[in-house]
C-alpha cells in the first residue's frame, strides 16, 4: 500500500515537459478536440497514428513479432495523464484496437500477422468490433450473421450494429455463424473483414450522447481464409479465451464456453474507453467551475452556499468511489453513479443547464447537458450492467447461476 508522490528523475521531467506536453498540444490541439466534439467520430485516427510513430502505442504491441520497446510504466502513466488532461471527456484512441491486436497476435495466421501487424503497431491501421447485431446485444452468441465457406474464401451476410469507429477504420472483427447444425457456442467463427471490400457498407447511427456509431452491412462480402482468427466454429472461444487471463472475472471454474464471456472480455479489453471513470471527474469539475463563477443576486457565488457545497461533496464522494472501485465491480459502480451524479449536477444548475454547448448562455461549456445524455449509454455499451451483475454474482461471488444464463 503506497500513495506517495513518485520522485521524478530529471530525464523523466524532461520527457514530460519537452516531449509529452508539446506532443499533446500538437496532436490533441483545441481544434482537433473541437472537431471530435462536433463530429463524435469516437476516435482521432491522426492522434493514434502519431502515438504509434512515437512508439507510444507499445503497450498494445509489445506482444508483437518485432522488438518494439514500449514505454516504461511511469512514462506510460505520464502519457495517459496528459492525454486525459487534454482530451477530458473525449476518447482519442479507439479501445477496440487493443482487443483486435491481442486476438491477431494470438490467433492470426502468419500471413495476417505480417500483413497488418506493423500497421497496428504503427497506429495507422485501425480496427473496430462487429459483435453486436440489431437482434442480439446482451446475448452475444445469438448472432444471425452467417459466413459460408467458398473455396479459399468466406462469404458473409448479415448486419452488425454499434461498430464505433467503423467509418474511419480499415477492419472490423466480426463474429459469424458458420455451422447451422451445431450449438450456439460451437458454430461461431471470428473473421477480420476489410471494410473497403465490396459488399461491406458502413452507415452511421447517431446516438443520444452525440457520438456516431455505425451499422456494418455485410452483403455477400468476401474475405480470404487467412483473415480467419482461430479455428472454424470455435470463434466463441477465440473471442473469450484470448483474454481469459486479463478479464479478472473467472473463479477458475468458469469455462471458455461460458455464455457471457465475450461480453466480459469486450468490457475488459475496451479498457479505458468503457470504464467510465474518466468522464465523472470532468463533469464534476465543470459543475465546480459553474459553482465558483455563477453569481447570485446578492453577489455571492453559488459555492458560498453550504447547501451547494454539500451537494457537490456528495457527488465528489460518488466520483471518487467510481474512480477507485476495482474491477470487475468498477464499471457497474461507475455507470450507476455517473448517471445519478450528472442528473443531480444538471438539476443543481437549473434552467440554464439545458442549453447546449456552443449556444448563447451554455453553462460550463455545456458539459453537463452533454454528460447527462452521455451517461445513459454507460449502462449499455459493451454489455449492459445487468449482464455484468449476473456475471459477478456467479463468477466472483459464487451465487447460484441465474436462470437466464442457464437457458440457451
Amino acid at each position: 500500500m503506497d500513495f506517495g508522490i513518485v520522485e521524478l528523475a530529471p530525464d523523466v521531467i524532461a520527457f514530460w515537459d519537452t516531449e509529452v506536453v508539446p506532443f499533446m498540444e500538437e496532436f490533441l490541439s483545441d481544434e482537433v478536440l473541437e472537431q471530435e466534439r462536433h463530429h463524435g467520430n469516437g476516435f482521432v485516427p491522426e492522434y493514434r497514428r502519431a502515438l504509434g510513430a512515437k512508439g507510444w502505442l507499445a503497450n498494445a504491441t509489445s506482444n508483437g513479432d518485432d522488438d518494439t520497446v514500449g514505454l516504461d510504466p511511469l512514462r506510460a502513466a505520464i502519457v495517459a495523464a496528459e492525454e486525459s488532461r487534454r482530451a477530458r471527456s473525449l476518447f482519442p484512441v479507439l479501445g477496440s484496437n487493443d482487443l483486435v491486436t491481442t486476438v491477431v497476435n494470438q490467433f492470426g495466421s502468419a500471413e495476417l500477422r505480417e500483413h497488418i501487424g506493423p500497421g497496428l503497431r504503427r497506429g495507422d491501421i485501425h480496427c473496430c468490433l462487429g459483435y453486436t447485431e440489431p437482434d442480439c446485444g446482451s446475448d452475444a452468441a445469438a448472432i444471425r450473421t452467417r459466413a459460408i465457406r467458398d473455396g479459399d474464401e468466406w462469404v458473409i451476410n448479415g448486419q452488425k450494429m454499434f461498430s464505433t469507429g467503423a467509418h474511419l477504420c480499415q477492419y472490423v472483427m466480426v463474429t459469424a455463424r458458420t455451422n447451422p447444425d451445431a450449438s450456439k457456442h460451437q458454430s461461431i467463427t471470428v473473421l477480420l473483414v476489410p471494410l473497403e471490400h465490396p459488399g461491406v457498407e458502413v452507415q452511421g447511427i447517431a446516438t443520444l450522447g452525440g457520438e456516431r456509431t455505425n451499422f456494418v452491412y455485410l452483403d455477400e462480402a468476401r474475405v480470404a481464409d487467412e483473415y480467419r482468427l482461430g479455428p472454424v466454429d470455435q470463434g466463441w472461444q477465440v473471442a473469450s479465451g484470448s483474454l481469459a487471463a486479463e478479464h479478472g472475472m473467472s473463479d477458475g471454474s468458469a469455462t471458455h464456453s461460458d455464455v457471457d464471456q465475450t461480453t466480459v472480455d469486450v468490457i475488459e479489453a475496451l479498457g479505458r474507453s468503457l470504464s467510465w471513470r474518466d468522464e465523472f471527474p470532468v463533469v464534476l469539475a465543470a459543475a465546480e467551475r459553474w459553482a465558483r463563477n455563477a453569481q447570485r443576486r446578492d453577489r455571492s457565488y453559488e459555492i458560498d452556499d453550504p447547501a451547494v457545497r454539500l451537494r457537490l461533496a456528495r457527488i465528489a464522494l460518488d466520483c471518487e468511489v467510481a474512480r477507485i472501485t476495482p474491477d470487475p465491480y468498477g464499471r457497474v459502480v461507475a455507470s450507476d453513479l455517473l448517471i445519478r451524479g450528472t442528473d443531480e449536477l444538471l438539476a443543481m444548475i437549473g434552467a440554464a443547464g439545458v442549453v447546449t454547448a456552443g449556444e448563447d448562455g451554455a453553462v460550463a461549456d455545456g458539459v453537463l447537458e452533454w454528460a447527462h445524455r452521455f451517461a445513459q449509454g454507460t449502462s449499455i455499451y459493451g454489455g449492459t450492467t445487468d449482464i455484468q451483475r449476473n456475471l459477478i454474482a456467479e463468477h466472483v461471488l459464487g451465487l447460484p447461476r441465474h436462470r437466464g444464463a442457464l437457458k440457451r
Binding site: T132, P134, C136, G137, S138, D139, A142, M161, F162, I205, A206, T207, L208, G209, T213, V259, R297, R311, I339, D343, L346, A347, M348, I349, G350, A351, A352, G353, V354, V355, T356, E359, D360, G361, E369, H372, R373, Q376, G377, S379, I380, Y381, T384, T385, D386, R389, G404, A405, K407, R408
Partner: protein, 349 residues
C-alpha cells in the same frame, strides 16, 4: 380534542373527465405521432399543429366564459396536459394556457385575451420574477408573440417578434428575454399585491399542469419500455422476464400512479381551495419530475443500445423529462420551498 375534520379522498374521475381525457389522447395520438415530434426538432415548434389545436379550442377551453372561453376546470386542463406530455406534441400548450389564464385573470386588454383564445396570438410566461438587467430563459420564448412576467410588483407584458431560439436538451423553443428593461414593446398589465398573487398563482398552475404532463411522459416511457421488453428476446426468453428489467418497470408504474394522483389533486385544490394548494403543487411537481426522469432513463437502459440511438422514441421522452421541468429551475428549490411551507416559521406565500 380531535380536529373533527374529515376530507373526502375521492380520486375518481367523472364520466365527462374520462371522456375528455380519451378525446385528447386520441387527438394527440393522431395529430402528433413521434414522427411529427421529431420533424419539429431542434426548435420544437410545429406551427400547423398549434394552429390546429388552438382552432380546436385548447386555449379557449382554459379561459373564462366572459372572454369567450369554456371555463374548463384545472383538473380538466391537467388531464389534457397529461395526454399532451405523453404525446410530446411540439406546441406550447402549458405555457400558452398558463399565460392566457393569467392575462385573463388580471384583466388584460380584452383584444389580447380574445386573440389568445382564438389562437391568432400566443403568449407565454416567464416563470421567475425579473430583476434589473437579468435575462432569463423563457419556455416557448422563441415562438410566442407575447411574454408575460413579473418585474418588481408589476405584471408586465411584452409583445413583438420573438428572439432567436437557443438549442437545448429538451428541443424546446427557448429564448433568453429580459422584461425588466422598459422598452416600447412592454406594458404593465397589473400592479401591487394583486399582480404578485396572480403571478404566483400562475406559476403554481404551470407547475401543476407540468406535473400532469410529466406523468404522461413517464407513463409513455413506461409503456414503450414494457412493449419492448415483452418483444425483445435474449437467452431464449423475453427480457421482460428478468427481474432486473421488470422490477424497475413496476417501480416506475407505481411512481406514475402516485405522481398522477398528486398532480390531479394539486389541480383540484388550485381550482377549489387555492389557499391550500401550495404544498400539493410542489409535491406533485417534484414527484412527477422525478418519475419522468427515472422512467425515461431506465427506458433507455431497457431498450439497450437501440434506446441510446436517436432512432428511438425513448430519447424523445428522456430529453423532455429533464428538459421541460428544469425550465422552472432546480427541483431542490421546490423541495426547499415545500420545507419552508410545511415547517418554516412563516408561510412563504
Amino acid at each position: 380534542m380531535s380536529p373533527r375534520v374529515i376530507r373526502r379522498q375521492d380520486y375518481s374521475l367523472s364520466e365527462e373527465q374520462l371522456q375528455l381525457s380519451k378525446v385528447f389522447a386520441s387527438l394527440f395520438e393522431r395529430e402528433s405521432p413521434s414522427v411529427r415530434v421529431r420533424a419539429a426538432e431542434p426548435v420544437g415548434f410545429d406551427a400547423d399543429l398549434w394552429q390546429q389545436l388552438t382552432g380546436a379550442g385548447v386555449i379557449s377551453m382554459a379561459l373564462p366564459e366572459a372572454v369567450g372561453g369554456d371555463d374548463a376546470t384545472l383538473v380538466d386542463l391537467a388531464l389534457v396536459a397529461e395526454e399532451f406530455g405523453r404525446s410530446m406534441a411540439p406546441v406550447p400548450l402549458i405555457d400558452a394556457m398558463t399565460a392566457a389564464r393569467l392575462l385573463a385573470a388580471v384583466g388584460a386588454p380584452e383584444g389580447v385575451v380574445r386573440a389568445l383564445a382564438a389562437g391568432t396570438k400566443t403568449a407565454t410566461i416567464a416563470l421567475h420574477p425579473f430583476h434589473a438587467r437579468e435575462r432569463q430563459l423563457i419556455s416557448s420564448g422563441a415562438m410566442a408573440d407575447i411574454v408575460v412576467g413579473l418585474d418588481g410588483d408589476a405584471l408586465v407584458m411584452s409583445e413583438g417578434p420573438p428572439p432567436a431560439a437557443v438549442a437545448n436538451l429538451a428541443c424546446a423553443p427557448l429564448a433568453w428575454r429580459d422584461l425588466s428593461t422598459n422598452d416600447h414593446t412592454r406594458s404593465i398589465v397589473a400592479e401591487g399585491l394583486a399582480a404578485e398573487l396572480a403571478f404566483a398563482h400562475a406559476v403554481l398552475e404551470w407547475k401543476a399542469l407540468m406535473a400532469a404532463a410529466q406523468t404522461g411522459i413517464a407513463n409513455g416511457a413506461r409503456i414503450l419500455a414494457s412493449e419492448y421488453v415483452t418483444e425483445r428476446h435474449a437467452f431464449g426468453v423475453p427480457i421482460g422476464t428478468f427481474q432486473a428489467i421488470s422490477h424497475p418497470i413496476v417501480d416506475i408504474a407505481a411512481g406514475v400512479e402516485g405522481a398522477r394522483r398528486l398532480a390531479l389533486r394539486a389541480a383540484w385544490f388550485l381550482e377549489h381551495e387555492p389557499e391550500c394548494a401550495l404544498g400539493d403543487v410542489l409535491m406533485a411537481f417534484v414527484a412527477a419530475s422525478d418519475v419522468a426522469n427515472r422512467a425515461a432513463s431506465f427506458g433507455i437502459h431497457a431498450l439497450g443500445g437501440l434506446g441510446f440511438t436517436l432512432e428511438s422514441d425513448m430519447q424523445l421522452y428522456f430529453r423532455r423529462a429533464r428538459g421541460w421541468t428544469l425550465l422552472a429551475g432546480d427541483p431542490q428549490a421546490d423541495l426547499q420551498q415545500l420545507g419552508d411551507h410545511l415547517y418554516g416559521p412563516e408561510p412563504t406565500h
